[in-house]
Amino acid sequence: MNQQDSPVDIQRRLPFLAAFIILFTLILFIRLWYLQAVKGEYYHDQAESNRIRPVKIRPPRGIIYDRSGRPIVENVLTFDVSLVPEDAQDLDAIIGKLSTIVKLPPESIRTALDDAAAVRTKYEPLKIREEAPWDEVAFVEAHQEDLAGAIIEPEHRRHYPYAGLASHQLGYIGKVSPSQRKQEQTDIGLLTGQGGLEKVYDKYLRGIAGRRMIQVNAAGRKVKDLGIEEPRPGTDLYLTIDLDVQKAAEEALGERQGAVVAMDPNSGEIIALASHPNYDPNLFPRGISPKDWVRLTNDPTHPLYNRAIQSVYPPGSTFKIIVALAGLESGVIKLDDKVTCRGYIQSGKHSFRCWKKGGHGTISFHQAVVESCDVYFYTMGERIGWDRIAQYAKKLGYGSLTGIPLPDEKPGLIPTTEWKKEKMKDAWYAGDTYINSIGQGFVLVSPIQACQMISAVANGGYFYRPTLLKKTRNRETGAVQVFAPERVNRIVLDSSALEEVRKALAGVVSEPGGTGHAAQIPFVTVAGKTGTAQVIAQKVPGRKLSGSTQDHAWFIAYAPVDDPKIAVAVLVEHGGHGGGAAAPVARRVIEEYMKNAGSKTVR
């Protein structure tokens, strides 16, 4: 063996190779111990969830019934064509095929996929075509083999059979916004209440999603069904609304803008609540088209606005009820005190007119309410003092929320001398007292507040939170939850003063010279008060008012006079006189309700 061929120097380094091998074996050994022994449990769970995929089953939403059990919001079974991109073998091919089936451009399907990418979880179906016609559904079902990834999803579609009727309290449902989705962890196609009762009572209506557990392989293909967890349908709602009265109210309003609130004065249950113009909630569950949305939001008449609770108006002469109560209770107004009305009153350089040119002559309390004499109430308002009137107004709920369970109620405004000083940097003048005493100037009231106020007058001073929900009923168990009226307040009113005011209000409708004649009903006595709220500050003599400068017409009433069963507030925007425009609406509502009073109870 020659020196050159001696392997000794190389062999010296072989222990390093052995060390290298031992070291790496050790590393692998430790790593395997860590994965299999230390974290074994964790990976075991991972492996388990890996092969079981839950598929959500959406629950049908709760049905909404009126007080006598007639459905006002229901579900209709429809079928959607959806795409599960993860299940598609060739996504482009499947998009191409689907686009010809549902007659949509492939780009729009791809755009929808891209848009959903950020919020969609893996294997969550994306709706391509909602409410697909039968031939499309049948085609997709029949060609499942070629259309891996495309599925038909049965869906309980929300349907509002009366379209715009009661739309403002019913609300609508729509797709969950990404922020809501993040908050509530809902799935992408879920439609939740986005307005009105659909939103407020969403927790009842929504139900609980079911799950189908399927075992899948890595390609996402179903290997077998492991079981099903049935969805729990949403709870049904029975509202306090009477469908017939609601219809009557909306028909009576007709094309005019305005609001009607009818309430049971003994419980606060809303019998009807209408706001015109209304909108068709059926536009929303399908995903409202941008065109429709723009049309609704840009409409100068604001159809999405719930005028009954979100709009505040000067109460006009209906405010005289407050002044009357404040005056009688404080003893400032004596029933026999007479005031002479010449058609106007002078205060310094200004003169304030009565609505009746030429005046009412010498007039006392009862007649002044019946004929709605402005001069009488200017005079009495000044004698009582504005802050005392404001105190009564607030006691009767003005300036604060009624607490009706609908979104975005507005409190309106009852000004005080203090308020004016602070906000307007100006003193409270006698003229301010005059005009606010007849419900003009700064006072602002919503129709729901007016209805709650007249209810308290009718029932002797009890304040109920207006409610829309009578009871809920679980469709599966039949369990019923009844919601009792919620009395929030009782105001102590002097009974003789209240009696006088009620008598006068009855006179408004029944006596000759009363402004509320138009509310007379043959078979039931009605008490009420008209109001005409000026839209522009002072009328220019001789100028004809029309359109949007015309006055708002008010009528607030209850019936029957002796045993009140219903209280109503009507406001017709730009309707003109309260007696002419609003009182007939109230009459229709009361008539419809009293016709069947007592015979309709919640099933």
Partner: protein
């Protein structure tokens, strides 16, 4: 020829070890490829390859390993030719062009290139000994020998094999012996090149841009496996789940949910170790790497007892190559090495890999059985 004396001196322990590993591998392939209709044809193919492999291992005992050394350059040239051929007429798969179709079989020249390069380098260093170690100038020719197949393999592209070529060659050079200064310069320049690749953005972008999307994703997934567990990190994640969920005792033969329900990709080839880990648990994996450890240490022993430079270099080169395969493959399955796609010797499905491994082991046996012989 294989005379009686050599036959009696055959290291039957090592041969038995090889066969045990191969049988474990066969059972894993059987399980990983099992179909609803029964054992997959892939299993029978693998059975055939292993049988042929065992025969070839014994055939590799017959010639003197010096004869093999004499043909090493020729073999190297042949594998270069095949690498060029695969680029021209090769069959593509998984975004890479790696296979040559020979009748019904697909042959992977890059597997052969690994073995032939190892043998060629062993011969080169055996014939050109340098007192006190090699300096950088001496490494010019071996460098070119590595570089040529490397370029072809990268062109396919086959990152895993390229990595194996570099690492195996580096180990052989280290064993052949470097001057301290040269070793230092080599390590330093290697470090500079690597940091240039990672830190200098024009260089990095150039290299990054030249990678295929699936390669970019794999690297991205290795750096942050959680980033997209259903996308690029899928392989690594599913493999870790499979390994971990085997726990201590395993889920049982053909009871691994990860592998049986096809969550685990490449389960009969690159991720076969995860199948074993899922079904046999830590007991199985522990035994498995112990078997490899013993086999490799016996290989080191063979190198130590070899009587000349060629024997030492050939044996240690083969041991280096196989150990790197094992470490990178298992490291990949347990998530400590990026997913580069190298087979597990004797176990992963694939004819070329099985055959070349058996040839390599046969040569190792050859060297060991000739340790008592005198040639001069």
């Amino acid at each position: 020829m294989l005379d009686r004396r050599r036959f009696a001196n055959l290291p039957w322990g090592m041969i038995g070890l090889v066969c045990v590993i191969a049988l474990i591998g066969l059972s894993a392939v059987y399980s990983a490829t099992y179909t609803v209709k029964g054992p997959s044809p892939l299993y029978y193919k693998q059975l055939l390859w292993v049988s042929i492999g065992v025969i070839i291992m014994f055939l590799a005992l017959i010639p003197d390993y010096h004869t093999v050394g004499r043909y090493a350059y020729l073999l190297y040239a042949a594998s270069l030719f095949l690498l060029i051929l695969v680029m021209v007429i090769g069959r593509a798969g998984m975004g890479a062009q790696r296979w040559l179709a020979i009748g019904p079989f697909a042959f992977q020249p890059s597997e052969l290139a690994k073995l032939s390069l190892t043998l060629a380098l062993a011969r080169y260093f055996a014939e050109d000994p340098k007192r006190g170690g090699y300096c950088l100038r001496d490494l010019a020719i071996p460098g070119i020998m590595v570089l040529i197949p490397l370029v072809f393999v990268l062109k396919q592209p086959d990152l895993g094999t390229a990595l194996m070529l570099i690492l195996t060659s580096a180990l052989i050079v280290m064993i052949a012996g470097l001057r301290i200064r040269s070793a230092f310069i080599m390590i330093l320049s290697g470090a500079i090149i690597i940091s240039a690749v990672f830190l200098v953005s024009p260089v990095r972008n150039r290299i990054w841009g030249s990678l295929k999307p699936y390669q970019q994703n794999r690297i991205r997934a290795f750096i942050d496996p959680g980033s997209d567990p259903l996308g690029s990190g899928y392989h690594a994640n599913q493999s870790k789940i499979a390994v971990g969920s085997g726990q201590i005792t395993g889920k049982g033969f053909r009871k691994g949910t990860q592998s049986q329900m096809a969550f685990l990709p490449e389960r009969h080839t690159d991720f076969i170790f995860a199948v074993i880990a899922e079904e046999r648990g830590f007991i199985g994996t522990g035994i498995m790497i112990l078997l490899y450890l013993i086999l490799l240490l016996i290989g080191v022993d063979a190198a130590k007892n070899a009587k000349d430079r060629l024997g030492v270099l050939m044996a240690s080169g083969i041991v280096s190559m196989i150990s790197l395969y094992v470490f990178i493959n298992v490291g990949m399955a347990v998530g400590i090495v990026p997913v580069v796609g190298v087979p597990l010797p004797l176990v992963s499905y694939g004819g070329t890999s099985i055959i070349t491994t058996f040839i390599a082991l046969g040569l190792l046996l050859n060297i060991q059985t000739r340790r008592f012989m005198l040639f001069y």
